[in-house]
Symmetry: D2
Subunit: 506 residues, 4 copies
């Protein structure tokens, strides 16, 4: 079974396309950045992809050890701050060329209005503060420390988002709108008091009642004339997944359906004259919203994200894939290396197929000359081409796709290079499954999983006919293929013959 | 066009097989070991393969700067030694876990009986010494220095070979037998005088008149009762290659023909009661004997060497592939990264296909259960299998080979892993050719050549039928495939289903 | 003010000395081994010192995430194990050439007989198990996993200690003897059931009532015929320190007083015919027993430990300094880089003076020819000398010590090399104090602290008189000095004159 | 014996000082940049100091293998170029953040007007070309290749100097002026033909007849209206050294005398209206001009260069210390690690004292507030101070210098940090001498030499009196001391007392 498509590029047409895929990436809670495994995975991601910002939860969670109360020498309650771990995390980020996108969560126990309401295996408190002053004092002390330690020029580049998904009961007590707005008000004002050039935004909502929340939030901000430098929200497949034992299983929706909530948010924002054109950051997105949902490890996920990346930049400055790594503990420590974690990278530094989707998109520079349901093609200033192609197997029927690309060119020799990630050539999940799904990898198993989890690279020498190069590409189900078509200026050395080399001395 | 073969393994039969492929490897002249590029290539080779010894020419060539003459304060001729570079080379070797196999060449200018007769672009003097005492003084001074600096226990492990290919006019003035024998006599005795436990051998001859030389050498050693701890010789395709410009082109011979001279040498040695069973080291071998012969860069070379490696251990303790690296200057500095150099590794640290043949053979441990013209299969003590398969395209007709392996097994689930190197999936020469044969690679070109030049890894889950696993492997022309078949003890985690993962939530 | 001493070595006398300083080292809880900072500090320690084993608390603490309960498909209580983090820690240890000395703590919440009794900032449960079977099932499951994953040969080298300081209320509920003995009985038997070759010991007690505990424990083990492969205990300065704010201050005791409890333990053990000669491991020792006691960062601590190391091997196989690193959270995350932490290494990889005491002792090989209150001197088989000298400023009066060493020698030229660590030349605590005690170091501050925190190295050329080398060494207060005296075989190069070099051309 | 000086800084006075010490550094011939040892030394230099450019001889020497002649298929003479090694060198430079300052030498054998006249142990041809076109073809081909491979923007930043020391018979046949001018004319015009934005200069002369040469060169350039973007020359101690065996010994001259030839050159240039204000690059300087002159390894050299660096920027854009490394072969391969080589770094990566003089000067940013015969002091924009102090023992009498610095300050606490390099604390030559001057270092010897060869770092807490900090510094003979005086904002943690820490619990 296979489908065929023909793509005829006209390089005169520039197609709008904003490639914001590398602005930001998601991460497990901030404390995890102290792990060596985390560092190594982030290093790998930065070398192959290179994100500008990183955003996760838990800046103020107890393991970061930032705020402390004690009795002073007169027996009075006093507060003190410890930035040992925060600085260690940020030093590590900066050393890898990535900056924090600060999300202000969670509520320190002693400030919390209730000790009972927590989220995650690690029991983060998600209630409003008893006293907003205690909270904003901590926020201000933290920002002042950062300004002093890292310098104003640097720190003002770090966006600040107030809380995470307050419209979800899992993240904000009773998903109560008014108490979030109050938190936003106090926090945003406190931040600007430290330095009016800090970039502040919210409401970081997810799917649930998102239209109501977004509208109400913007009205609140407008009416109170509060600072708001960007609007943020999240997006995932909305269907509830099916749960079995430690795992969950989800069915994909189509891309338009996935994008619909974002389009509505955009429309709401544009309906406010005060906020028209404001930066929108999708501060989280993925397929499934669960860190044990098996789809994340698949080639299907890689192909789906390839499609998503071709469209997300249309209305948003940035979109932060949730997450770069499976060093993640929201549902506890994973039992196995492949477990449906959010990461682009499986533990033991094994890149998943989706890792390569990002690595491929990173190369899409220049002007866009084609964009469709299965392909995006760019032309560089030097007229070479770069493209990403994909074949999402929505119907789980193993359909192959044959693409015929016709690209106008000027010179008389070209080299086509393809990098293929598909279920046959780069599918570490399958290799791990074939090995017997070992929970604890030996060094040898890790090594072969890493050697396997890379794109298959092929090349072809092309002589254009009538100033057109015709390229035929076969995409296996859930394949993601990167290609580049480069002009060749052949300079064969004196006496060298490749053809003769291949054919023996004859 | 394809051929089919069936391989039925009977694990009761142990087939004789000595895997001596990692004892020694060849190198360009010793001085080159100071190069950073050389070091990086050797590091790569040691990590992926791991040889025990390394042998090359030029220990006493002028660039090593070992021996010097001067006038002492009374105006008399005096000699002094400089081991700065020698120690630097040896420190580097030892740090990479490899030891020198010392070849004593060439003749320092001031000792040479003639200044005119030289070899290589770098003009190494290949004449006998004017005065054997000068030569043996230098040899002894060098060995004494090594003993003092590296310790007796270490240094006595380093075999010493007297000169290189004296039966070739290119390497010994007039290929004169008697003068070589005299050199051997003086040198071997001088070495044993320093320490009788040094391991000394020769005659390091190559194809030309090899039977005559070998017989005469052994008679000479026997008659003079000289020390001889091993016999050494070289082997290459004997056909003269065709030369065009800077390059040469050779036609393969079949493996039996290639082995014939070695068999004859062995027979000659065995005919001497005094030398029966003595260690034989093939201190050089490859396909072509020229460092500009295009075959060395090909998948054909990799497949041919795979066949050779299945047989070379039958009569020889070791066999040293000439060479590990294209950092090599015998015909001058290469103009291009691919130029038919001897190396397993092309410059800029790009592994050639033959590199992987060695990496695959390195894994062949345990007992041999099958050996044929296209395959060698081993069984580990734990009853898992390891094998190497190849398909030499002797006729340049692109014939595919289908192998059906039937391996007896005990347990009820297995994982087959294959690593494939063939003209499609791992052929950096072709990629470089398609790029236009650039003489000077950009960083980007180097990166993609390295990413491409790795085996394609695939896996399969196998449930044996009647205690037999049947494996079907397709070998493209000049493919070399490594496989391992490992028992699987499946431990699926609570709730995990790989099948369901692949099929969506349904 | 200064004191003078003369040390006359007679190399004929071999003085008993067991250098067990590198057998084991202490560490913060096991989970911390996942931190990158921890890894880097351990790497530094292993490179400069090289311990064989590492021991810390918390193998079964919740952050290691080993044991989990759940309801199975029939709704029954079930248990499952997760070794993801354990293996990651052990892989990291083995990669640094160090093995775990397994201490079995603490009580998983769901097994605990009481949820209230905890220790440390991180609230480790220290109550006996409700049901010993649950506990031993976990211990056995863990050991079986380790045997399977790391191999029997390796894992049987890892000693196992049952619990930590049960004679302290801080570590065992009510410091109750009978409940600990019961735990020991169940645990030791369960371990030997898994493999009788496991090495098991206890009771890991600290100062409090130690004589009573030790005697009762040995009687219990003897009477019940329980396995006991080694006896363990801890030792610290017993005086209660004075506490101010976040810190504590302690006054040193003299070395004999410090050793007294150990001598008593030894005597008790020797009084049991069944246990006479059994291995004794001091599984923790230091000056102060508090991780916020300022003495740990000082040169005084380094000098004191130098004295301790000269004597601890007399009665004990090993003694494990508590701890290698300030990555440690028992009293929460440190607020400042220097904070009186237990570590030899301050955070940001700055070696403290005590680090060098260990690095110096590591070099003490050969036979001991002198041991006194201020010096230990060894002679190597090649007759060169190595020694460590110290000057503990017990009275805080800044007294300098002048040592005159007279060492018999055979040859006519020697080179003395000294490495000095004292309050002037290698005192990072002072530098940090002079900097203003910054809580968060800049990269520049860290760099200069590291550059400073190294020994001052000097050399001297010595020509012995009457086969005696006389060495005069001045030790500043709290100095620790390593020296080596090596024979010189001078080989001046042709024309070289050091004297002329120093004096210009004249 | 000691001298005392008082330095009273008035921060209102800005003293002219151009710190051009890091613009360029010298190197052994270009081919040596392929050595691993060279790379490691350059890496060390770049990390600690960081030069912008690197200049050495031998771009066109035969070992770089750039130009080749052959007979084409019709039997005609033809030329071809090989940039394999050139690109490898330049890639290596750029990877270390340093750019080539291209010096065009030597004459390829086949272009040379005479084969007999060579320089150096490695016999570089120093005769004019038979045919200037052959030479300029090669220069142009090389530059065109560089432009294509590294990009115009990058390559135009690399200055180009025509030949080296043509006024010396050792470097240009008969030191013939007219033939050099002719070479300059052809070469400069050829370079500008490739790209008019290339930066071209000369005449790179050294001491001999320098005034005559400089004047004649400028007249020639002016009269012929040739391109000239900068003027270059060299400077060394002019006295002939005394030679013994393999070594030479020189006596220092005073700094003014050393500078005199440069001042004269400057005056000559300024006398030409056409060249007034043109950039002057001192493309080589050091104390002695011989690579076996023992002074280079001493602390005296370090102190002398400290004085020189305080003055060289007054009239020159840059001055390139000859050389960064002892990987150098002009007089053959060194026999011993210390041998009076030109380098800042001895072989085996041991920094010599002079290395630190450069590392210290690198920190001199801000405005100069004091400059004298023994000190230079800068003030940063934040009002902290940085300075370098030195005590040249011109008379070899071991005189100590006591400096009293009085620095005006604003705040009430400061930290003084000093880094001292002197004959006691950082003198690897002495340590090596004391070891017996070993020609071949063991790993252990190398390690201790490196550990020793670092500055001694001390700190002091200073409370200014009347807004003046008084600093007393004792400089041993030939000491070079770097200091920084930084404002302290003390933040003592709750309960911490450094004083109490030092004094026990009392």
């Amino acid at each position: 079974m296979s489908k065929e498509k023909r793509i005829l590029v006209n390089q005169e047409n520039e197609i709008p396309f904003h490639n914001g895929m590398d602005f930001c990436v998601g991460t497990g809670r901030m404390f995890l950045a102290l792990h060596k495994e985390y560092y190594e995975q982030l290093k790998m991601v930065q070398e192959a992809i290179g994100f500008k910002y990183i955003r996760g939860h838990g800046l103020f969670f107890s393991d970061m050890s930032i705020v402390h109360t004690y009795k002073d020498e007169l027996g009075r309650d006093a507060v003190e701050y410890n930035f040992t771990y925060l600085d260690r995390v940020i030093d590590s980020y900066l050393s890898l060329g990535i900056r924090p996108f600060l999300e202000l969560t969670f509520m320190p126990e002693h400030m919390a209005s209730s000790g009972e309401t927590t989220t995650f295996e690690w029991k983060a408190n998600i209630t409003p503060p008893k006293n907003h002053k205690e909270w904003t004092d901590m926020v201000q002390a933290t920002l002042r420390h950062l300004l002093e330690h890292y310098g104003r020029e640097e720190v003002l580049k770090w966006p600040i988002e107030v809380w995470n998904e307050p419209n979800q009961e899992d993240f904000w007590k009773d998903a109560d709108m008014q108490s979030y707005f109050k938190l936003y008000e106090h926090t945003a004002l406190a931040i600007k008091e430290v330095d009016p050039d800090f970039i502040v935004g919210g409401p970081a909502i997810s799917g649930q009642l998102d239209e109501i929340w977004m509208r109400a939030f913007l009205e609140f901000v407008r009416d109170k004339k509060l600072p708001l430098d960007f609007v943020s929200r999240h997006n995932y497949i909305p269907h509830p997944p099916d749960k079995v034992g430690r795992y969950s299983y989800v069915k994909l929706c189509d891309i338009d359906f996935w994008l619909e909530p974002l389009d509505k948010t955009k429309a709401i924002i544009e309906s406010f004259p005060e906020f028209k054109g404001i930066d929108i950051h999708i501060t989280e997105y993925s397929t499934s919203y669960l860190p044990n949902c098996t789809i994340h490890d698949t080639n299907l996920n890689a192909a789906y994200i390839a499609a998503v990346l071709s469209r997300l930049g249309d209305k948003h400055v940035s979109y932060s894939y949730w997450t770069f790594s499976d060093v993640f503990e929201e549902k506890g420590v994973p039992f196995t290396p492949f477990h449906g974690g959010f990461g682009m990278v499986a533990n033991n530094c094994i890149p998943k197929p989706t890792f390569w989707t990002f690595a491929f998109y990173k190369k899409l520079q220049g002007k866009c000359v084609h964009r469709s349901e299965e392909a995006i093609i760019m032309q560089l200033p030097n007229e070479n081409y770069r493209g990403v192609l994909w074949n999402i197997d929505f119907k789980y029927n193993g359909e192959i796709m044959e693409l015929l690309l016709q690209l106008p060119v000027k010179y008389n020799e070209y080299c086509l290079i393809t990098k293929t990630v598909d279920e046959e050539c780069c599918n570490p999940l399958k290799l791990w499954h074939d090995m017997g799904e070992p929970a604890n990898l030996s060094a040898e198993q890790t090594a072969i999983l890493k050697e396997h989890a890379v794109p298959l690279i092929k090349s072809e020498s092309i002589v254009p006919v009538n100033s057109i190069t015709e390229i035929k590409v076969t995409l296996n189900p859930n394949a993601v293929i990167y290609f580049e078509l480069n002009r060749v200026e052949r300079k064969t050395d004196r006496g060298y013959s490749y053809e003769r080399t291949l054919k023996g001395e004859l």
